[in-house]
Amino acid sequence: MSDRKTVMSVNGTEMFSPPSNILIPTRDEGKKPVLDVRGLGIDFGGLRAVDEFTITVSPTEISGLIGPNGAGKTTVFNLLTNVYKPTRGAILLDGHPTAGKSVAQVNRMGIARTFQNIRLFDQMTVLDNVRVGMSNNTRCNFAESFLRLPGYFKAEKRSRERALELLSIFNMESEAYTLAGNLPYGAQRRLEIIRALATEPKVLLLDEPAAGMNPSETHALMESIRQIRDQFGIAIVLIEHDMNLVMGVCEGIAVLNFGKVIAKGTPDQIKNNEAVIEAYLGRQEKKEA
């Protein structure tokens, strides 16, 4: 972690007052945050599922979102991708608000995600799964598809090559023609990430990428996550319960409990944060008593 230092960011956006505790890796110094979330909140019935959620993510930052079960982590992802319409607050992606956009439009703006319970296109091949992700970056209109005009062949060739390239980065090119539903669990998780990357996002949201993995797989995943950041130059936000992974790979961490951010900081700061320990382990006094 020596390549990174903690600084206070100077935020130029005038709409909002500058946040006090943004962590920016050295390499991102002076760059505007790619994702700027302000006071986000949603109510389900009377329940404030998420409240006052505020984070900023700089362009190549890996950040983690942790918290006990039911804290509202996945709800945050659903809010970020507009699956749920937020009751309060705003999301700015590269300075553009995502309010009122559809899920698909948000993806096209640059937020891609994976799912906690894997959602692949089971009846399609691995290759086609990736190519679905590339749909919006493939230029080929209906007429070209129906009539197989030259544009079709060009687009198909490009998308196939690009998809295979993506697969090969993750050593999955040998599985290109397997049905996605037939892949082993770990490979399915990887494929979801590849598919999300295929949409050429600016921010990648990973929902429990290490769930169900053994320690060695988790370790490989950690490497992959760094590799993705380096190779694609994108920001990654991940939800994870595996603390080794979170502490090992994330540069900034936000801790969520009962829908509220109770702590933000570097892994070291979070490790020693009283509120976090309390949230995870219960109050110290009680434990002693």
């Binding site: 996945t74 659903n78 699956v83 799912f115 319970n117």
Partner: protein, 295 residues
Amino acid sequence: MTLLIQTLIQGISLGSIYALIALGYTMVYGIAKMLNFAHGDVIMVGAYTIYSTILLAHFPGWLGVISAVVFCGVLGVVIEFLAYKPLRGAPSLNVLITAIGVSYLLQNMALLLFGGNQKSMLPDSFDFPDVKIGNTGITVTGEVIFTITLTVVLMVALTLFINKTKMGKAMRAVSEDKDAARLMGINVNRTISVTFAIGSILAAFASLCYGMSYAYIKPTTGSMPGIKAFTAAVFGGIGSIPGAMLGGFVIGILEKLSSAYISTQFTDAIVFGVLIVMLVVRPTGLLGKKIREKV
């Protein structure tokens, strides 16, 4: 005003029959997650059973009705066992096609056994006296009163069965989550069989009401009420028992109102049009569970 009340009464009566049939659709859907397209034809079988026991074999009326109820109940279980049970776990569309095959089979068997001519289902002794309400000029036929009464009794009985008995609880459990129910020691296969039996028994009663109101039956008698009742089940929210009852009444009343006040020609179009609009507003029917997809 007289016309309106008369029409409403007729609508409730027609709706009762739809509701009885719709219950069969909805219960089977709720538990087996399949559209049992042969259900409409079970009504036809019930009608022919009543016809052959009472008019051909000269059974007393009550015995004829009981034999129809028993026969339909058994038929429901047999159909389930032979045609649907082997397909449990298969794609739902394949089961749907099998159900259609069963529907064709029942129709053509009836055609071979009884011929294509329509038959008068019940003897005259099944006529009930009409009731005139005061001096309002409104007449309610005995059949209508019988149909509505029978339907209400059956619905109360069914509601009690489902909420109070062990088997009813088992049915609800299976419809919520088959696997969890199995883990809790519920015999899922038996529960499904019982559901089919109950649905078919209700269909037998529906066929009695149908025969009393409309007298004539033929091998294709079941298909149109079947489709209408299926529509009613969907209207109310398929899988929901109160929904099927409500849906049946709504469709029946709607049909009668639109043919009385708008146009008999366009009745079907109006009913189906309202159905589409309703489903667009409430995509899971009137009382259907709103399914929130978990992301």
